[in-house]
């Protein structure tokens, strides 16, 4: 049976009505119109649907709606963009480094990178690879994605200093 759930998404409170086991992915995309969270496999194996869940990158396709209330959820639209007062340094770095081909996987990868850079100011290659353990990219933009994340880390360190 459908039920009402109170969520906190991108710093705003909202209410949605759906079955409790509905994947959070569909709530974000179809009820809240946050389309940057994308369907890739439905099994938590590719990272295209990643969101920040209390600051951790988690796949929203295998996060049931019932588990979301009381947690801070951030989608790519909440990371940066027209509704978030400009681009986040990670988004900017992906553009600057042209670290995108088709880009379908990229918002999920940016979410993983933001989660990493929140806990690790100067990540090693190994730490970046671990942070992207559950992300996949088919176009082969891997080298540039590493470069963009390093550049974003640099920019964020400089921002903190300033």
């Amino acid at each position: 049976m459908a039920d009402t759930f109170k969520l906190r998404v991108n710093g705003r409170d909202c209410e949605v009505r759906a079955e409790p086991d509905t994947p959070l992915l569909y709530i974000l995309r179809n009820d809240l119109k946050l389309k940057g969270t994308r369907f890739g496999c439905g099994e938590g194996q590719c990272g295209a649907c990643n969101v920040l869940f209390d600051g951790n990158a988690v796949p929203s396709c295998d996060t049931p709606l019932w588990s979301a209330p009381g947690h801070e959820i951030t989608t790519i639209e909440g990371i940066g963009g027209p509704d978030a007062g400009g681009l986040h340094p990670v988004q900017q770095a992906f553009i600057d480094e042209q670290a995108i081909q088709c880009g379908y996987c990229i918002d999920g990868i940016i979410i993983s990178a933001v989660a990493l850079l929140q806990r690790e100011k100067d990540p090693s290659e190994g730490q970046i690879a671990s942070a992207l353990e559950r992300n996949l990219c088919r176009c082969g933009t891997h080298v540039r994605i590493f470069r963009a994340i390093r550049a974003a880390a640099r920019a964020m360190r400089e921002q903190t200093k300033a």
């Binding site: 759906a18 079955e19 509905t22 994947p23 569909y26 995309r29 179809n30 946050l34 389309k35 940057g36 994308r38 369907f39 890739g40 496999c41 439905g42 099994e43 194996q45 590719c46 295209a48 790519i76 639209e77 940066g80 963009g81 027209p82 681009l87 988004q91 992906f94 553009i95 042209q98 995108i100 081909q101 088709c102 880009g103 379908y104 996987c105 990229i106 918002d107 940016i110 970046i128 690879a129 671990s130 992207l132 353990e133 992300n135 996949l136 990219c137 088919r138 176009c139 082969g140 933009t141 891997h142 080298v143 540039r144 994605i145 590493f146």
Partner: protein, 703 residues
């Protein structure tokens, strides 16, 4: 005046106003049939057009792959978007510019030579006299056929071409909605299709009412072996799909080959042999020794990260389709045929999708959406599942290649033989006869699966890049075409070039080893083409290749080289591998000559991506099955390269602004596979000839 050979796109759509339009708001719209797949074409074609017209990039907008507006430019495929689409755009814009300059000269009563154009404003040098494209537009008639007579700018006059203009589509892609998957139509419902469990499956029984009763279900369409459904909410459609799976029973037959090893089963299938190329007398008299080897590649999935998706609206016999197809006009005609309506009753509008650089499920899902929109009377978005995409989208054909060569007393190759076993490498909708759309084959009455027809030479399909670029005096290349295929295949990036270059370049390495000659020197001894030599020499220099260098039992390096299609970009790759429990590619150097480069960073991105994708194919990818069904249905059962296996990559671009641009999106694939296999040999002394190079296979090769 000499007649100019128009590119195919301009022959198909000669009228200039189908290519360029000046808008009242002082912007320019240009129209292309070549669509964005992640290769940056939207930006590159805009650079070409803006440069030729002398308008700023900010003023210029590209409309691509929209059957109501864009020219029909075949498919966005085969590394031809710059070679053909870009050059058509260049000629069209040059002619438009020339017509406007003539009009401006008439109105301002000066000579064309006195005019300059800056950002669309046409001025008489040294005076205040000026006009613009937009001022003149009402009086310059572009409803006329291109003649190709207006010469495009000389390379030295290019301002945007040759510069790494940033991609224009990226900001949207890092901030939210950007793909066909993200669009909504008013009143839209969510569609899913229950695909049969296997190619042989026939629907025996289906309890449609069990699905119709579920919450939110709007329609269930059953036609032959096609079962589709729509629901108000997406999660309801997903649940209904699960229920439909339980409500269906299928009759299946065990028709798949007993082995998934291409090497073992492909040459046993019925085939038709044809000669691809022969030169020289075929005499091996005087040759000192003969070597031979057999190579193979399995079926490889396109495996886009986003499963295919389309939106469809049906209104009184007219259909609007939003699709990430690579050929909007072809899809339009095929959909019209299946839906039984006139071609112009179907509009196909390209919207970006998830990439893979090949024929994935994009076209198929468009038909699914059209059928469901008609069945339920509301706009529908159909989203394929991960399983649909891996098990039902076409995959790249498996190949077996047997190569033999004879050497003379000076270790020169005097005779070369190359024999291919494979299926067609293209079965796109609109290619050949009949209908190439999945649901059309499943519905009742079904459209027959049309006979396979491969791409003919000079570009070739399975035989693409089978003719060696090396100067072997005697050559025979043959193709054993296998018409029937156990699983569905179509165009995977680079078609047969991947396996042919892997075979040729592995074999060149084997012969060089047998002759105890450095593999780079051995290749150069057989290669006169100056541009080919230069990419090989350039990559050797970039990688600091040392003559006769040997691996150390763990690490090693190898080279691979090809000119894509024997007529497009030249690419040479040196890979460094490290072999522990698994084979890792640590570092890759590439040199590429793509003639005139439109966007150097875009080219580098394509080469880097091509290398990484080819490493994934080479090390990991293979579609598996049992006698009944495809088993590769998830990322768990079809693994691709992950971020922890990312190599360092250095790309050197040889800039040749005076040469025509050469298609480059697919040029790195074959050279990369060969470079990795040759590096493995260099490291361990082990020759692995069957892809993918998994630990098991390497272990077997060591025995």
């Amino acid at each position: 005046m000499t007649a100019v050979l128009l590119p195919q796109s301009l022959k198909t759509t000669p009228v200039l106003n189908r290519w360029v339009r000046f808008n009242a708001d002082r912007t320019v719209s240009v129209f292309s049939g070549k669509v964005e797949l992640g290769q940056g074409i939207e930006t590159a074609i805009a650079q070409i057009a803006a440069d030729e017209l002398d308008v700023s990039l900010e003023r210029l907008f590209l409309v691509a792959g929209d059957t109501t507006q864009s020219p029909d430019e075949w498919y966005t495929a085969g590394s031809q978007s710059i070679e053909v689409g870009g050059m058509a755009m260049r000629l069209a814009c040059a002619e438009v510019r020339s017509l406007f300059l003539e009009a401006a000269a008439r109105e301002l009563e000066v000579n064309v030579a006195e005019l300059t154009i800056r950002d669309g404003t046409i001025a008489v040098a040294g005076t205040d006299l000026r006009t613009s494209y937009w001022d003149l537009a009402p009086r310059v008639h572009l409803a006329r056929a291109a003649t190709g007579a207006a010469p495009p700018k000389a390379p030295s006059q290019h301002g945007l071409v040759g510069k790494s203009a940033p991609r224009r589509d990226l900001r949207a892609k890092v901030t939210g909605a950007a793909y066909v998957h993200d669009l909504e139509l008013p009143g839209m419902v969510f569609g899913r299709v229950l695909r049969p469990p296997s190619h042989s499956a026939r629907l025996a029984a289906f309890d449609a009412d069990a699905v119709r009763r579920l919450p939110g279900v709007v329609a269930v369409l059953v036609s032959g072996n096609f079962i589709g459904l729509c629901a108000e909410r997406e999660e309801q459609a997903v649940r209904a799909l699960d229920a439909a799976r339980r409500a269906a029973s299928w009759e299946e037959r065990s028709l798949l080959p007993a082995t998934t090893e291409a090497r073992d089963f492909l040459p046993t299938l019925p085939s038709m042999r044809s000669l691809v190329h022969r030169q020289g007398e075929g005499s091996t008299a005087g040759s000192m020794r003969r070597l031979e080897a057999s190579y193979s590649k399995p079926y490889i999935a396109h495996a886009s990260i986003g499963p295919s998706c389309a939106l469809a609206r049906h209104d009184k016999g007219r259909f609007t389709i939003l699709s990430h197809t690579q050929g909007s006009h072809h899809l339009q005609r095929q959909l019209a045929q299946v839906l039984g309506v006139a071609t112009d009753a179907v509009e196909v509008i390209h919207k970006d999708g998830a990439g893979c650089y090949g024929h994935n499920g994009a076209d198929d899902v468009a038909l699914d959406a059209a059928l469901l929109a008609r069945a339920c009377g509301r706009p529908v978005q159909v989203q394929w599942t991960r399983e649909d995409e891996l098990a039902w989208a076409p995959c790249g054909s498996a190949m077996v290649v047997r190569v033999a060569a004879s050497l003379d007393a000076t270790d020169r190759i005097v005779d070369w033989h190359h024999e291919i076993w494979s299926h067609t490498h293209i079965k796109r909708p609109g290619w050949g006869e009949g209908v190439n759309l999945l649901a059309a084959w499943h519905m009742d009455p079904p459209f027959p699966v049309p006979p396979a027809r491969d791409v003919p030479q000079p570009t070739g399909g399975a035989d693409r890049n089978s003719i060696p670029l090396y100067d072997f005096p005697t050559q025979e290349i043959a193709y054993n075409f296998i018409a029937d295929m156990p699983i569905r295949v179509s165009a995977l990036r680079s078609l047969g070039a991947f396996a042919n270059v892997f075979a040729i370049e592995s074999f060149m390495d084997e012969i060089a080893v047998a002759a105890a000659i450095d593999p780079i020197e051995f290749r150069l001894r057989h290669l006169k083409d100056a541009r080919a030599r230069e990419v090989i020499e350039t990559v050797a220099k970039a990688a600091r290749w040392t003559r006769g260098e040997k691996g150390d039992g763990t690490r090693g390096r190898g080279l691979g080289f090809a000119q894509y299609k024997n007529r497009s970009a030249f690419c040479a790759v040196i890979a460094e591998v490290e072999v522990g429990e698994i084979l890792r590619v640590k570092r890759v150097f590439a040199a590429v000559d793509a003639g005139q480069v439109i966007n150097p960073d875009g080219l580098a991105n394509q080469i880097e991506g091509g290398i990484v994708q080819a490493i994934s194919w080479t090390l990991k990818e293979q579609i598996l099955w049992d006698r009944d069904r495809i088993l590769s249905r998830s990322w768990g059962t079809y693994p691709i390269l992950r971020f922890d296996a990312t190599p360092e990559i250095e790309v050197v671009i040889l800039s040749r602004p005076e040469e025509p641009p050469l298609g480059s999106g697919e040029c790195a694939a074959g050279p990369t596979a060969a470079a990795v296999a040759n590096a493995l040999f260099n490291a361990l002394g082990v020759r692995a000839r069957d892809l993918p190079l998994t630990p098991d296979r390497i272990a077997r090769a060591m025995e």
